[in-house]
Amino acid sequence: MIIFDRVFKRYPNGCDALRDVSLHIKPGEMVFLTGRSGAGKSSILKLITLLERPTRGSVVVNGQNTASLSARAIPSFRRNLGVVFQDHQLLMDRPVYDNIALSLIVADVPYREIDRRVRAALDQVGLLGRERVLPSELSIGEQQRVGIARAVVGKPSLLVADEPTGNLDHALAQDVMRLFKRFQDVGVAVVIASHDESLIEEFAQRAIHIETGAVVA
């Protein structure tokens, strides 16, 4: 599913974000990337989602070596991933329905199918009936659920989340984590970058600990 083989990442400002990182995440596995801010968790996610390319080493996602993917192939590569952000990255001037449907519209899914799948995704995250509401009218926890619904509506085999509970209180964070667990239960691989140690212990999944750009555990 995801293979990092001796990956180095240096940014243009000279910062070495990753140093000789090797890791392997299997299909259907739920993995936490842990570590302090700036440790390199987000850099790993950026390499998985092809927002960045490695300086050295190889990154293979869904059987595709990202180094060999052309710029034209990136959109279809990203359609097979679901991405959730700490700040949700929702379009605040569009209703919930449009935010979620966007993932399917870009994939040229027929409208009738879009309607069915958006409602199904909203049902999964407990927001069915809120289709026409603007994200600004929702609570932070609900906005995060919309972000998750958008990430899973395309039925990806891999779900990537960067600090998805960073802005949530513990109860809401648990709710969101349970949602991720449910997706893992149906065979979706889930990679979550988080520094919330208590939550990680609570869900008892494999954790990869990153420190100053290297895997330490």
């Binding site: 950026k46 359609r79 379009l91 966007l102 870009v106 027929p110 409208y111 395309g154």
Partner: protein, 308 residues
């Protein structure tokens, strides 16, 4: 690969989305469309002037005539024979014989020298053929060929026509036509710049949306599509407004031009673009809109990549 219906639905959605954005900012849209319309109407106006001048000078058959003065000793019968002979020439449209007597009568009427002419024992004027070339032979070279042919007739003394006037007019029209192409090219660049810049601003305003769209797998073509429709709509609306403004200007000029024509004894009326030319202007406007949007979008969309 999407089905044709899905493909069509996506394009319709992009078109409606672009239209919605224009309608949500009516004042900004109107100002941009007005600038595009003005940029389009200037070369169009020049084109209309050239086309009307050409149409007016197509009446050169009415204006350009060759005056053939026969030898003074030619008889009226000989002049009538020459009139018939001239009619058979390929380049000739109409021939009018003015006999020496008719010429003298006209001269007496219009010159005010009647008493002086009474003193003269003989009519000094020759018979004259006034020849109008046919519509296909009003250009300078054809007129010159006709003049040479008529001069070669032994019964003919001299042949006159106002060649300088015709040549100057032709040169002015050619110059105006060249000017039209130069102005049209410059203003087309202007329209491209206006639309390109408008699309650039729109892209900047929708940066977050573009980033999110790319992050969930939107291709550059998908992201670019609504901006191309935006350019198309600006171009189409600009050209339609240019047509409307042109029609208003024509109506306003109709009366003064009619009066001016009447002073010259002409029934000339200024005419605007015909339906084919109007359609061409709309298509050019739309094409410039798409091209301007493409240039603006291609350059700026490539710089926007999602952040995490």
């Amino acid at each position: 690969m999407s089905s044709p219906i899905t493909w069509l639905a996506r394009h319709l959605q992009a078109l409606l989305s672009a239209l919605g954005r224009l309608l949500r900012a009516p004042l900004g849209t109107l100002l941009t469309v007005l600038v595009i319309a003005i940029a389009l109407i200037l070369p169009t106006g020049l084109w209309v002037i050239v086309a009307n001048a050409r149409a007016a000078t197509n009446d050169l058959t009415e204006v350009v005539t060759l005056t053939v003065f026969l030898n003074s000793d030619e008889s009226l019968q000989s002049a009538k024979n020459l009139e018939l002979k001239a009619r058979t020439l390929e380049k000739v449209g109409k021939v009018n014989l003015i006999s020496a007597d008719e010429g003298l009568k006209e001269f007496r009427e219009y010159s005010g020298l009647g008493t002086v002419l009474d003193i003269m024992k003989e009519n000094p004027l020759p018979h004259v053929l006034v020849i109008q070339p046919n519509a296909q032979n009003t250009d300078h070279s054809s007129l010159e060929l006709l003049r040479v042919a008529l001069t070669a007739w032994p019964e003919v003394d001299t042949v006159q026509f106002d060649s300088q006037w015709a040549r100057r007019l032709e040169a002015i029209l050619n110059l105006l036509q060249q000017l039209f192409f130069a102005v049209a090219a410059l203003l087309a660049l202007g329209v491209l710049a206006i639309i390109g810049n408008t699309v650039r601003l729109e892209i900047m305003a929708r940066r977050t949306e573009i980033e999110v769209t790319k992050l969930v797998g939107g291709s550059n073509a998908f992201v670019r599509r609504p901006f191309l429709y935006l350019g198309l709509l600006y171009g189409l609306m600009g050209s339609l407004l240019a047509l409307a403004l042109g029609a208003v200007i024509l109506v306003a000029l109709e009366a003064p031009i009619g009066e001016l024509g009447a002073l010259y004894g002409s029934t000339f009326r200024l005419s605007g673009l015909n339906p084919e030319e109007a359609l061409r202007l709309v298509l050019i406007g739309g094409g410039l809109g798409i091209l301007g949007a493409w240039v603006g979008a291609a350059r700026h969309l490539a710089k926007i990549e999602p952040r995490q």
